[in-house]
Structures are given as C-alpha cells and as structure tokens.
Subunit: 299 residues, 2 copies
Amino acid sequence: MNVTLRQLRAFTGVYRTRSITRAARELGITQSAASLLIQQLESQLGVKLFDRSTRSVRPTLAADEAVHAAERMLGDALGLSRRMRDLAQARAGRVAFVASAGAASALLPLVLAKFRETHPAIEIDMRDVAADDLVPRLIATDAEFAIGSVEGEFADMTIETLTRGRLSAIGRRTADFAARRSLTWDELAQLPTIAMRRATRIRVQIDQALGAQGKHLSPTYEVTLINTALAMTAQGLGLAILPATMLPADQFPTLIAKPLVRPAITRPVSLLQRQGRTLSPAAQAFVATARAVLAERSG
Amino acid sequence: MNVTLRQLRAFTGVYRTRSITRAARELGITQSAASLLIQQLESQLGVKLFDRSTRSVRPTLAADEAVHAAERMLGDALGLSRRMRDLAQARAGRVAFVASAGAASALLPLVLAKFRETHPAIEIDMRDVAADDLVPRLIATDAEFAIGSVEGEFADMTIETLTRGRLSAIGRRTADFAARRSLTWDELAQLPTIAMRRATRIRVQIDQALGAQGKHLSPTYEVTLINTALAMTAQGLGLAILPATMLPADQFPTLIAKPLVRPAITRPVSLLQRQGRTLSPAAQAFVATARAVLAERSG
DNA sequence: ATCAATTCATAAGCTTCACCTATGAATGTC
DNA sequence: GACATTCATAGGTGAAGCTTATGAATTGAT
C-alpha cells in the first residue's frame, strides 16, 4: 500500500494538536482509528513520526520535515476540490467559442451582456470569423462550440437552430414604412435596394430562393460588409436586404426591419457542437443563456 | 468521502495514456477498477474529467486544469516517501548534539571523521560548551544527545559511558619520559606540573580522589583552558595533569600521555540522552559510530 | 457488409481494509 | 494512593475496493 491523504490528515492534525485524541475528534473519527492511521503512516514511511507515551505526543525531527510536504498536499487537494467545484458551478472558468461575424455583431452582444450578469467571473473568448471559417475553426481550435449560420450537415457535428432570421427589408422609420407589416419581393423591386455582394452566403441563399420562384434580385447597391449596408440605409440610400437579426437596434436606432414575403426566406442561426464532447459547465451555462435570449427574441 | 491519491494516480495515468486500459495496466489493477476510480473522482469533484466513448478517452478542459494539481500532489507524495526513506536510512538528515569542550577537541574529531566516511550527506551540528552547560543545553535546545563527562544522575536522562579517560601526566616525548609505563602521584609531586584551576570539574575530581587517600596536589601552574595547559607542556614548562583522552594527538604530536596511578583516577566520557525521545536515524548512526570508535580506543 | 478485436461500462461476488467498541497499560494529578 | 486522562491493542462488523464476467459500442479487416 501507499501513503494516503487520510493518513496525512491525521498526521498534520496530531502534529498541530500534539494529541491523538484531539486530532481524532477534529477528524470525526475515534482515537483508536487516528492512532492506527499514524502507525500506518510511520510504517509506510519507515520513520517514527511521534515519540509518544500514554501521556504525551511529541513530533520527531522527521515529523518536522514531513509536515510541510503533508500540508502542501492537503492544501493542493482542497484547492483542487474547490477549483473543480467552481468550474462545475460555472463560477469560474473560460468559454471559448467561434461566432460568425454577423452573429457576433448583432445577436451575441445581447447574450454576452446577459451572461455577464449571471456569471461575472467567467472569462469569454469569442472568436468572430467569416462564415466559411466557422466549422473549420471549431474543428481545429479549442473552441467548444460555434454560433452562426451554416447549411447542410457536418460529420461529427451537432447542429441546433437557436433562432431564425427572416430576410427583411431594413429601412428608416418613416411613417409610410413603419405602417407596413411586410413587403413582397415584387414590391421591393420597385424601390432602391442595398444587398450583399454575390459572393456572400446571404446573397447566395437569396438568389437561390428567388430563382426557384423564377424571380430575380437587381439591387441598386452591392456591398461586402453588413455594417456598410446599414450605414447606407441610415443615410436613406435605399432599403437593406438582410436578416432582421443582423440589425443591431442600439447601433442604428433610426432603422426598422419588415419581413420580406413571397417568398419568405429564413436563415437559421445555429449552435454547432462537436459530437461526443461534453461542454464545460461554463460553456453549458453560456449556451443556456444564448438559447433563452434568442428564443425570447424569436417569440 | 474525499479525494484519494489512488484516484489521482488513476487520473494522471489515464490523462497521460488517453486510455483506461493502459493506465490500469501501469497501475497493476484491472481496467474496471481504473474505470471505477475515474468515476469516483469525477463524482467527488463534481466535474466530468474525460469524454469517453467505448473507443476513445479525451480529457475535458477541467481535466487539463486538474492534472497539474494532481501531478504536484503525487510528486510531493513520492518526494516525501523518498525523503523519509533517506532519513530512515541515515542517508540524509542532520545531527545536532552538545559536546563538552574537552570531548569536542580531543575525542570527537576521530568520531566525526569516521562518521563522515560512512555518512557523507549527513549535516552535523556539534555545539561545544563548557562542562557545566552540557545538560542544560541538551534540555533547552533541539540537540538530540550530548557527549561529555557528567557526574551523578539527572531526571529524565539516560547516561551511558562510552569510554573512560584515565587521569594522566602529559609530557614531551623525551627518552626518559617515553620509557615509563606510568607515574605515581607521589612521583609527580617532585616534578613541575600544570593542572586545571580549582573551579574546574577535572580539578574537583582530582582533589576529591587524592584527598580520600590523604594526598594533596600542589601544581606549579594552574590554568583554565585545556589548550593552554597543553601548549605550556609542549613548551617544556612541566607535565600536564589531564585525562589522556583530552590530548589531541595530531595537534600536539610532540606530547605523550602516561597514566597516573596510586590512585588511578578515571573520568567517564558519557553519552546523555533525554528519556522517551527517539534519536533520529542519523543520530543513531552517529552514536553507533561514536560507540564503536571509542570502544576501540578504550580496548 | 459482416466479423473479429478492442475498449469502456456495469454487475455480482468476494476479499480486504478501515473503523468502532471495549479494554488494558501508563502516567500525571489531586 | 485513588482518579482521570491518554495512547495502544484486540476483536468484531460493515463498507469499500478489487476481480471476474459480461454487455455495448466502435473500429478495422476480410
């Protein structure tokens, strides 16, 4: 057999209190159990740790040396338990995840703020990447999950839709525009529009969906960055064609989104996880917050 | 229950090998036992440590954190065991003891040299004190034992005679002096002599022993320090009256000692230990060496 | 695609060990 | 000298830990 932490606990207790009886009381065991633990440790280590008579217990020089190592080990054990408990309760730790640029700018700030309120001590490492990089980065790095829009399936990957962004027309809050419930794509064709460039994911999806209906989008302006489209819209240059989820309300308070219909086109905002990997408690808490916040927003 | 070192050993093994089966083999237990140890530790700490399928075992982030603390504790345990074993085998450690000035200068250098040969790594702390301080210092300090001449008994103190020093006349190695086997006190009275001052232990004993026989010592010189007496003798001022054990042969190569008889007076050189205190293994080894060396010298 | 092999989890049984109660021995105290 | 306190030990009991046996899942080969 080998040295046990139990023996060391008894040892440091006896060392401190100079009494087997008192140490036993502290440990919640009987005097005889403590006596045995000390004997075991002595025989284990091959040294006498205490000179004991029936009346007194005096540590030997060996005990003086050993007590430091013993206390360090017990301290480490306690620290480990505490640290793990904090991790388990998501009161400490780190969440590393990947987010597509769109989600990161428009959707996640809300989630981050909420999460910070409930879990102030958790370190957050959000890596915002281009949509195409979402899955590769999740696979190649230590990120625990990813949030963004993906299409299709991926091997060893769980995909869960958190919310859906309806393709919308985003424009200034004019009386006319605000009064509308929705716009059709045909109506939109008569108005100046700002769309994403053809190479982007969003645009590809739009073109496909419209093409299936024999329709066609001819935007007035084509841009690469979502923010550019929104800024132009705020200037009154036209209506931006984007998922409503990508409009950060606080950043562009003058803009509002109206769903585009005939056809209605939606883009999922998904949570991606690698199969067979448990999320850290901190990550689980974050995901729970994201689900709650985004579900509320959807409803 | 609490975390055990056994669990931590299993944990670090599995962490390193990424396999419960391999770790179990290393630990000399069955796979199922190792599996159980990991499960116990996980439930103990409240965190999942490995994502395991039937085919693979992957550490979680919590495991990455925990492994350092675990390895440190196991390292400490090993270090502790090793250190204690070294102490037990007197291959490491420290011996602190008190020696009377006489013993320290004349007798113990031999012992120290011998001990150094067999136990090179042991640190030695020899505290040479005046004869009267021998016991008080042994009681009041962390010294493990004392070597010197004492008379009578002391409470809680074991006294063991290691060798006896015969009171001798010490003089220069002249042809005349060297030829003698011994001198009587009466013969000595005719010669110039150097003795210790009346207040000293040695002198007290001499005066008592001679007084019992109706004799009386009238030294030519009286000094306080043994070394002074020997230096004067080396100068040819007279014969020093001292225990032969107090003549360091290497320090005064020109001097030799001849026993004084009628009466023969002996002074014990004793080993003093505090009752109920085990000597450290290093101290035991030192004492053994001292016994051996001094017995040889006596015989 | 099927079969063999590997790996982890679980169940059942047994051994061992750890603790408790009871008691003895020693020592300091009134 | 009687009493109280403290440590050690013995015997009994229950729990904990390990092993063997088996099942389930996955990989790799035929």
